[in-house]
């Protein structure tokens, strides 16, 4: 076994680097979760097990409010982004070659390449101008900004899925008397579902997570969970934040697990 072939295991220090990397990735999270169950108010001294910080988080009206806003915003923005990303993916893979195709890819993926802070400041100026002109200060700005920001994250898995689909499938449907609309709804769309679900979930998580975009775009009273937590951290840090973060983590894990299960069973 050890004699044949190339194995990274035999590179000196490989195991050590791996262990260090995983420690850096997960130890802080483990500590965060650990102290969310602390009976005392400290992040460093263990005073025994308690669920009091979870209780505090659930009873905090502001936490409930911003959590619901965050979830609503993520669901709305991810839905819009998924529809737009599906259309974009179809246009760029099923529309035949057209001039400027590579440019279009780059433009769709702008949020992946332009630093988030630049997008944030640009949005701040842009949105401010519209606010002055129209007087509208509702959630529309956040929905629009999050949608635009989520599109590339939704686009990538949908396009990847489309590219693995044999174009002969659509040709076969047309050959078997399906109109273009029938071929889309009976062949392309059902086969695209795993990509669409993956795109939606990625978009949802990204929207739930983003601080910078929200911070620059939101009007008064439009805090999401991340911007609320950031605000709280400027004051005193109690394990209540740990409890909220832990719940947040649990939600992400559920989504990622669901995503994994869906792509595994439907991905064939």
């Amino acid at each position: 076994m050890a004699e044949k072939g190339y194995s990274v295991r035999r590179l000196p220090g490989f195991g050590l680097i791996a262990v260090l990397t995983f420690t850096m990735l997960y130890l802080p999270i483990v500590i965060l979760v650990f102290f969310s169950f602390n009976a005392g108010p400290s992040q460093a001294v263990w005073d025994g097990f308690s669920l009091q910080w979870y209780e505090a988080a659930f009873q905090n009206r502001q936490v409930r409010e911003v959590s619901i806003r965050s979830l609503w915003l993520a669901a709305t923005a991810a839905s819009f982004a998924t529809v737009l990303a599906t259309l974009a993916a179809l246009g760029t893979t099923r529309g035949g070659r057209f001039p400027g195709q590579t440019m279009i890819y780059a433009l769709i993926n702008q949020p992946l390449m332009v630093p988030e802070i630049v997008t944030g400041i640009a949005l701040l100026i842009f949105v401010a101008a519209i606010k002055v002109q129209t007087g509208y200060t509702g959630m529309g700005y956040l929905v629009a900004a999050h949608t635009a920001f989520c599109i590339p994250f939704a686009y990538l898995p949908i396009r990847a899925r489309l590219e693995t689909l044999d174009p002969a499938l659509e040709a076969a449907a047309a050959d078997l008397y399906a109109s273009p609309v029938q071929a889309f709804f009976s062949i392309t769309l059902p086969l695209l579902v795993p990509g669409i679900v993956a795109g939606f979930m990625l978009g949802f998580v990204i929207s739930l997570d983003t601080v910078v975009i929200t911070e620059f775009v939101k009007s008064a009273g439009q805090d999401t969970l991340p911007t609320y937590m950031l605000g709280q951290l400027r004051r005193t840090v109690t394990p209540e934040m740990n409890a909220i973060a832990t719940l947040f983590l649990a939600l992400s894990l559920i989504i990622v697990t669901a995503f994994f299960l869906i792509t595994r069973t439907r991905g064939r």
Partner: protein, 370 residues
């Protein structure tokens, strides 16, 4: 489906006249098909044969409706279909990749065409069951394509394309993904299906043996043109030019001087000085003394005693093929010659260096247009 223009001068199931297909424009234009004229009779097993890039698949896609011809006319059962999409033509295709719908069962795949035609469910189910019987796949109706072997997927693809009872079935190299044994099996299976259903088959392949064994007629294509069209025996025995002679089967090309011409035949001077009669292509009148290229198949020469035959040769090597042996020879003037001899029990191949006499079958030698 749409019989818009009924022509009373219908010749066949498919009539293609003056079809051209050009991809791209200007300097980058690529002529995939040039002046294709073709008529395929009802119930015929017609094969488009040629190397990859010869235009055979493009022609199939033009018939199916996936590509529209740049010019020319395409009639199916007398109705002009140029300009119509694939969903409006009474033809179905068996794809090289099979293109089975992975999210549907075998039965749903087979019923798809009838469903799109708006047939009642009872009829769809009955036809699907009948098609499954036809391709001997009754037991696997509820399987998904991913759970089938390559040969089984091939049968489902056939059943799916046959289910709407098309006037014409188009097959795009359907056997190329199968291993040799399965391919032989499917060749006879295809022939059986064609005979049983009476549907016109248009079959695309680059495998000349497949074309010769299965087809009623073959069109040999190269560089977007049809070079020769005819029954397999005609194509094999009387290739019109060097390309066809070379592509179909094995051939010896001999450059020989013309001794004299006489009607549609010429007497050529063989290496060693003896003469042999060779058929001339239509309208060719070579000058006496000029060199022409003549072809003869490896099985059309037999070994005789040295000096007793038309030519003499020495053996370079012998390759054993089971049913026969290929002898690689050098003629007395240095030209190579391959001879195929059927093996008999106890017969040993001649040693390299042995001198042999070759006798040519009458009518086997043909002059090619160059």
């Amino acid at each position: 489906m749409d019989a818009r223009v009924q022509d009373t001068t219908v010749k066949g199931e498919i009539d293609i006249t003056g079809v051209n297909k050009v991809f791209g424009q200007g300097a980058a234009a690529f002529h995939a098909l040039t002046d294709i004229d073709l008529s395929i009779a009802t119930g015929e097993f017609f094969t488009l044969l040629g190397p990859s890039g010869c235009g055979k698949t493009t022609l199939l896609r033009v018939i199916a409706g996936f590509e529209q011809p740049s010019s020319g006319s395409l009639r199916i059962n007398g109705a002009e279909v140029a300009g119509l999409g694939p969903n409006r033509r009474p033809v179905n295709t068996v794809f090289q990749s099979y293109a089975l719908f992975p999210h549907m069962t075998v039965a749903q795949n087979i019923g798809f065409g009838l469903k799109m035609l708006g047939k009642p469910r009872r009829e769809i189910e009955a036809t699907a069951a009948e098609m499954l019987r036809l391709v001997r796949m009754e037991a696997l109706a509820e399987r998904r394509p991913a759970e089938l072997s390559g040969g089984q997927q091939q049968r489902v693809a056939l059943a799916r394309a046959l289910a709407p009872r098309p006037r014409v079935l188009l097959l795009d190299e359907p056997l190329s993904a199968l291993d040799l044994k399965l391919r032989k099996e499917m060749q006879s299976e295809l022939k059986r299906l064609q005979t049983e259903t009476g549907i016109t088959f248009v079959f695309v392949t680059h495998d000349q043996e497949e074309a010769l064994t299965m087809s009623d007629r073959v069109a040999v294509m190269s560089a977007g043109r049809i070079l020769q069209m005819g029954r397999p025996t005609e194509i094999y025995n009387a290739p019109v030019n060097r390309f066809v002679a070379d592509f179909i089967g094995e051939t010896n090309f001999l450059v020989l001087p013309v001794a004299q011409t006489e009607g549609d035949a010429a007497h050529l001077t063989l290496p060693g000085g003896k003469r042999a009669q060779a058929l001339l292509p239509d309208g060719m009148l070579p000058v006496t003394g000029a060199d022409v290229t003549a072809v003869i198949r490896p099985e059309q020469a037999t070994i005789v005693e040295p000096d007793a035959g038309d030519m003499t040769a020495t053996v370079d090597s012998a390759v054993f093929f089971g049913t026969d042996t290929h002898l690689h020879l050098t003629l007395s003037d240095g030209q190579p010659f391959v001879l195929r001899r059927q093996n008999r029990p106890g017969q040993q191949p001649p040693e390299p260096g042995t001198a042999l006499g070759l006798s040519l079958a009458p009518g086997a030698l043909r002059v090619l247009e160059d």
